[in-house]
């Protein structure tokens, strides 16, 4: 099996190709340019479609058109570009299109910066566009996981016929690690009963979100909410050292690598600290938090933003134990020691 030394952005593109992504529409924005560049080289060789659009807004609407015909399609961008796509995200959810979107986040708000940031957590998990909808949100913490989660996103999107979002950032996007090109066999789901493939031997089909009849929109919303309920079983988290832990340190995505190192440092010094990393951000893995909270263990939420995931942790813990926040505004990265010191202070407060 081949192993490559690649950036996270490249691993994401390779993951999409591994999932037989047929169409990619994108637009240049740092720090995700390797994705469109790799797709420009590779997709045409495989009889696929690569197209650079005139804006992220056009790119996501091309994605809408392609996905509506049942083919596997993807777009990627970074924070400001994702904001531009927000209105159409709502349409993708409302039309129940299994499209895959990638956000290699950068510092915000505004033009912000081009380095790592987790400041798009709310945008990703609460739905950047209008109305009650969610994306399936997956957040990798390694190049290998970025490759596999992207491939899995296509499968999950088809399974629920809903858009899926890979949320990562400049740190993972731009760093290199070995990637084992494992054959990925995530299931495919039939699209023939809904895709717009031309009304051959059947009546014309419609994909729409405008529902003006009495009760129609309410029914549509309830249908989507049932999906989001069903998606709860896809919640995934990585949990280490939970047994007898006196503190649970939790973080997602690329920053969780630094947090993990701080946890290991604490454990080497005999402090019983657990590590909890959500892999799916929607559905949020609240069960492990609730289970640990019932044991009274406090939580330390570490994130590279001004405090966003901490709210979901508080919702999951629901007052059963203390939840502290180490919110690090992007983009200065902490050293493991910085987090280790905060772990020690949390433990001292017991």
């Amino acid at each position: 099996m081949k192993t490559l030394l690649v950036k996270g952005s490249e691993a994401i593109a390779l993951g999409a190709l591994a999932a037989d992504c047929r169409c990619y529409f994108g637009y240049p924005i740092t720090p995700q340019n390797e994705i469109p560049e790799l797709m420009a080289r590779e997709l045409p060789k495989r009889g696929g479609v690569f197209l650079q659009a005139e804006s992220e807004l056009a790119a996501v609407n091309m994605l809408l058109g392609a996905a509506s015909t049942g083919v596997r399609a993807m777009t990627s961008s970074s924070s400001p570009g994702i904001s531009l796509m927000a209105e159409t995200f709502s349409y993708l959810a409302a039309l129940e299109l299994p499209a895959v979107i990638v956000n290699v986040s950068r510092g915000g708000p505004g033009l912000g910066g081009i380095e790592a940031s987790q400041g798009d957590y709310f945008q990703a998990t609460r739905g950047a566009g209008h109305g009650d909808y969610h994306f399936l949100v997956l957040s990798p913490a390694s190049i290998q996981e970025a490759y596999e989660l992207t491939a899995r996103a296509f499968s999950l999107a088809e399974k629920y016929r809903q858009p899926a979002l890979i949320l990562t950032d400049a740190l993972l996007g731009q760093m290199k690690e070995p990637l084992r090109l494992r054959r990925l066999r995530f299931p495919r789901y039939p699209v023939e009963d809904w895709a717009l493939t031309g009304a051959r031997g059947r009546p014309g089909r419609t994909l729409r979100s405008l529902f003006l009849g009495p009760g129609e929109l309410r029914a549509r919303n309830l249908l989507l909410q049932r999906k989001y309920q069903a998606m709860r079983r896809e919640a995934r988290a990585e949990i280490l050292y939970a047994e007898g832990a006196e503190l649970v340190v939790t973080a997602f995505g690329s920053l969780s690598r630094i947090v993990r190192e701080a946890v290991e440092m604490a454990r080497e010094k005999g402090y019983p600290v657990a590590f909890l990393r959500p892999i799916t951000l929607f559905p949020f893995p609240d069960r492990p938090y609730r289970k640990l909270a019932e044991g009274g263990q406090p939580f330390l939420v570490v994130e590279l933003n001004c405090g966003q995931m901490v709210e979901d942790v508080r919702l999951a813990v629901c007052g059963r134990s203390r939840v502290e926040s180490l919110a690090l505004p992007p983009s200065d990265l902490p050293a493991p020691e910085d987090i280790y010191r905060r772990i020690r202070r949390c433990l001292a407060q017991r």
Binding site: M62, G65, A199, G201, T206, L207
Partner: protein, 249 residues
Amino acid sequence: MSGPKMKFVFPRVLTERPFHYCPGCHHGIVHRLLAEVLEELELRERAYGVASIGCACFLYYYFDIDICEAPHGRACAAATGAKRARPELAVFTYQGDGDFAAIGLNESLQAAARGERITAIMINNTVYGMTGGQLSPTTLPGQRTTTTPEGRDPRMYGYPLKVAEILAQFPGVAYCARVAVNSPRRVLEARQALRQAFLAQLEDRGFGYVEVLSACPVNWKLDPVSANKKVDELTQTFPLKIFRTWEGL
């Protein structure tokens, strides 16, 4: 007028649902012409329509073909995605002047500049119809609308956007025409233009564009017959012409 012996019967591609358009609105005529062309070119089973946001957002109620809704202004981008994903589909957009030339002007021009093999239909009635008759890029100087109560003042809002003339400059555009449907002869010409705009796609020549000058009785505050007549005045600002075609090149 060349073309098959005209038959004046309800086109099968249309569903039985009565149009919701206002009495005398030309959308209905263009819908029938589009249905006739889809039937004549035997495209029902490979048609993919993009319904834009505006009076014609209910396109899917009227055509027994596959239709996808696109956000306001983005029909040409969605159509691009669909055509690139499944080139065998006959992809068209059906948009108003606001959707195509105001909020969606960049998507429209860029698709034309790329020479997308899609067929774009723009209904130009110089106002935003669905929302009650506001100013649009094609509103005439001096024309009163609900957002230019004293008439469009060029000092404030400039001059009407001549989309057909613009698109005619693009090498990627294989067919570009402006037509009207306010007289029997023009209806026949409009049908021919729609047919050519689809052939531009089907014969892989490039982007096909038809702009249809269209009456909007309610928002023009005219009875249907007077509104129909008023379209003649529009032709002074928006001349009826085939601006570009690959035929005879």
